[in-house]
């Protein structure tokens, strides 16, 4: 290094001039990239990774805007927690280049409470909530105001291999099909039950769906911040813990359940002893694509069946998980009005349908599910609609990250979950974390 520096120092003025020119050129190209093209305002849309559907919508809406604005996309990291980290960092620094963002529903309350999102006015609100699933609207609302526009909605179904179900002699469509019946049947017939047990947001999705299906809630009165009522130490919480512990300690569980995310659950499902799996709707596309590409056996897609999320109690309908994406507008955006127009364009019924067919992610508006093209492409479309209608959102609180992290911390690994102790310990821990009295 010292050697190199010395040599550099001895080089002539021509060399220095060349370096300076190169530096200036780099700087200029950087500035040009910031400037946008020819005076048309550029809106930057931070998207969660998908197969390119949101970029296509950006192009479509740019065209529809007829030169009023241009939308460019910028892709966020893969998992929901990291997407939030990046958005929060930018928004806390008052990033004015963040116009539109694809937000996981659970983080809308936090961003809204921190003043990071531009709320929609009463007049603007109409189109965004009309015919939209109730959980999506609930998740996008904070203290009575709508802070985000539902873009697509998601839920988990119970996916099963028809051959395995025949062998096990059970009917997943039966109204009283419970987790217990499923696990017992899987153990009996030597097949697996896939779920998301990694210490990440997907595990919280599972815990919340089980608690809600058993008729409980993790917390309530979330608007009270660290005084929120923590309800996980309840009969419903103990039921949820019992189901998770039972599956995790049974032979039907994935050997790597404690690190499994959606994709691992899917490959478990594709294995010769694959049986059941709870997973999001995207897998229908993924399975068909993989079968076409020869990644998995061609006979698998025809063997896949689906049913509503299993019950926890036989006499109580299940409450499937709720997910999806809401579109928020950055509070520090330089073009908030144009961003509202852009969001209107992106979330139009027509574009929701386009996105659902393009990406496989379910639309947030109910009418889309009546479309014949959608029903041909997604034979389970009606079930998805029914599931989202019945879905239970995860706790809506500005401290969602803490609540979820605290639950994950005490409920992980799944095989350690004990109905007698886990719900009680996690309730104490959530309280401590909310009050900054414990590390996470």
């Amino acid at each position: 290094m010292v050697e190199g520096a010395r040599k550099g120092g001895r080089r002539g003025p021509a060399w220095r001039a060349a370096r300076a020119t190169a530096a200036l050129a780099l700087l200029a190209s950087g500035l040009a990239a910031c400037g946008g093209s020819g005076g048309v305002p550029t809106l930057t849309w931070y998207t969660n990774p998908d197969s390119g559907g949101q970029a296509k919508l950006a192009a479509k809406c740019t065209q529809a805007a007829g030169g009023r604005y241009r939308i460019q996309t910028s892709v966020l990291p893969n998992d929901a927690t990291q997407q939030r980290e990046q958005l929060v960092r930018r928004l806390a620094a008052k990033d004015s280049g963040l116009d539109i963002m694809s937000l996981d529903p659970v983080f809308v309350a936090e961003a809204a409470n921190a003043g990071f999102l531009r709320p929609f006015g009463e007049q603007e609100k109409g189109q965004f909530v009309q015919d939209v699933f109730q959980p999506a609207v609930e998740n996008s609302t904070w203290e009575g105001r709508l802070y985000a526009a539902p873009f697509w909605a998601n839920t988990q179904l119970l996916w099963y291999r028809k051959s395995a179900v025949r062998k096990a002699g059970v009917d997943p469509d039966a109204p009283d099909f419970t987790w217990d019946k499923m696990i017992d049947a899987a153990v009996r017939s030597g097949v697996t039950v896939g779920a998301q047990g990694n210490k990440y947001e997907g595990y919280m999705v599972w815990v919340n769906a089980l608690v809600a299906s058993a008729g409980g809630r993790i917390i309530s009165s979330a608007e009270k911040g660290d005084d929120a009522t923590i309800e996980i130490d309840s009969p419903a919480g103990r039921e949820a813990a019992r189901v998770i512990g039972k599956l995790a300690r049974s032979r039907a569980a994935s050997p790597s359940l404690s690190t499994d995310i959606e994709e691992q659950a899917r490959s478990l499902f594709n294995a010769p002893n694959g049986g059941f799996m709870v997973n999001w709707g995207y897998i229908w596309r993924a399975e068909n694509g993989d079968a076409k590409d020869g990644v998995i056996d061609k006979s698998i897609p025809a063997d896949i069946g689906w049913a509503r999320y299993p019950r926890v109690r036989a006499d109580q309908p299940s409450k499937p998980p709720f997910g999806g994406i809401e579109l928020g507008i950055g509070a520090f955006s330089k073009h908030p009005d144009l961003a509202v127009d852009a969001v209107k364009c992106i979330t139009s019924t027509e574009n929701m349908k386009f996105y659902m067919i393009d990406s496989g992610n379910p639309a947030a508006r109910r009418a889309v599910y009546d479309d014949p093209e959608i029903n041909k492409e997604f034979p389970m479309a009606k079930l998805i609609r029914e599931s989202i209608d019945a879905a239970a959102p995860r706790p809506i609180t500005p401290y969602y990250g803490d609540v979820s992290g605290a639950i994950q911390s005490r409920w992980h690994p799944p095989a350690s979950v004990n109905p007698e102790t886990t719900p009680r310990r996690s309730a104490d821990f959530v309280r401590q974390v909310l009050r900054d009295q414990a590390l996470l």
């Binding site: 927690t81 980290e85 929060v88 960092r89 806390a92 936090e110 961003a111 409470n113 921190a114 990071f116 990694n198 210490k199 990440y200 050997p255 790597s256 359940l257 404690s258 690190t259 691992q264 490959s267 500005p398 990250g401 803490d402 992290g405 992980h412 690994p413 900054d436 009295q437 414990a438 590390l439 996470l440």
Partner: protein, 312 residues
């Protein structure tokens, strides 16, 4: 190099403090003047964040609730120090540091010997030994993670381990983390030790050989004592590096199965939870532990940092 020339007469100057010549004074002033810009830049880039971190650690403060900021004094430190998780992570970090440094020292020394003694293909040999150190840690961490992964990994089929999930067990996960850390940073220690080996005068080993010392005796009685300084510097640098381990844990386990290190704990509080106050308190504690380790090495073991550059 010029620094070496100036520090060399230092012992003499210390004994004869009374007669400092004008020339020495002027040289000292010039020295201070010349180093001033670097010192100022250092203070700006390291001092400011440091003091800011200490300041922020005195508040209960969320990035997402800026208005709820309130002064809590040393409360965050009390929370951190009384939390079992903190001490568990200290233990994990300690374990990783101890094992990686010990193993790396042995392997690194062997590699340094090979590099030092090699007669042919010296450049190729040195390049291939240094290769892992040239790989970005995140990339090496991903490579190791996928190697041990249940679905894409080749380790389980190779060793007939079936469906053993490496990252679902604390000790197995720590084993992979430590293994990848050793693979990645042993070349660094080997390089520092090679510099130390080059400092051992040939005459000494030759004289020992003539006196009938065995290879083992030469190693323990002649070579190692003569490169003690280089060894201590290598151990110090690696200890401080290992103590701040973050990338491997982040990529491989995200801190689950109790594999979180102190750096990861800091990240978790500051970035993930956006609990700026609590996170900075943990960060300051991490910084203090680094200072303590460095102080123990430099004062306790009398490590002379200038020796690693071959200034002696």
């Amino acid at each position: 190099m010029s620094v070496g020339l100036e520090t060399a007469p230092a012992p003499r100057a210390r004994t004869g403090r009374a007669k400092v010549t004008d020339r020495t004074k002027a040289e000292r002033r010039l020295g201070l003047l010349l180093s001033a810009p670097a010192v100022i830049v250092m203070l700006l880039v390291t001092g400011y964040p440091l003091f800011n971190a200490v300041y922020l650690s005195l508040f209960s403060y969320r990035l997402t609730a800026p208005d709820d900021r309130r002064f809590v004094g040393l409360g965050n430190y009390a929370t951190a120090l009384s939390d079992g998780l903190f001490w568990q992570n200290v233990f994990t970090t300690f374990l990783i540091t101890l094992i990686t440094v010990a193993v790396e020292l042995v392997i690194g020394f062997a590699l340094a010997m090979v590099m030092h003694r090699a007669i042919f293909a010296r450049r190729t040999l040195r390049t291939s030994i240094l290769l892992p150190y040239g790989i970005v840690t995140v990339i090496s961490a991903f490579a190791w993670r996928y190697a041990f992964d249940l679905q894409s990994g080749f380790v389980n089929p190779w060793f007939g381990l079936g469906d053993f999930a490496w990252f679902s067990d604390r000790w197995a996960a720590l084993f992979v983390i430590i293994l990848s850390e050793i693979w990645k940073t042993t070349p660094f220690i080997a390089l520092l030790l090679l510099a130390g080996l080059a400092q051992v005068p040939r005459d000494l080993t030759e004289a020992a050989t003539v006196d009938g010392a065995t290879a083992w005796q030469r190693l323990w009685r002649v070579i190692l004592p003569n490169m003690k300084a280089a060894i201590m510097v290598a151990v110090l640098f690696r200890t401080l590096d290992a103590w701040r381990l973050f990338d491997n844990v982040f990529v491989m386990t995200r801190g689950q199965e109790d594999t979180a290190t102190l750096s990861f704990l800091t990240y978790q509080q500051t970035i993930t939870r956006t609990a700026i106050g609590l996170g900075n308190a943990v960060g300051v504690l991490l910084f203090l532990s680094v200072v303590i380790i460095a102080a123990i090495f430099i004062k306790g073991f009398r490590v002379d940092l200038s020796q690693v550059r071959g200034d002696r």
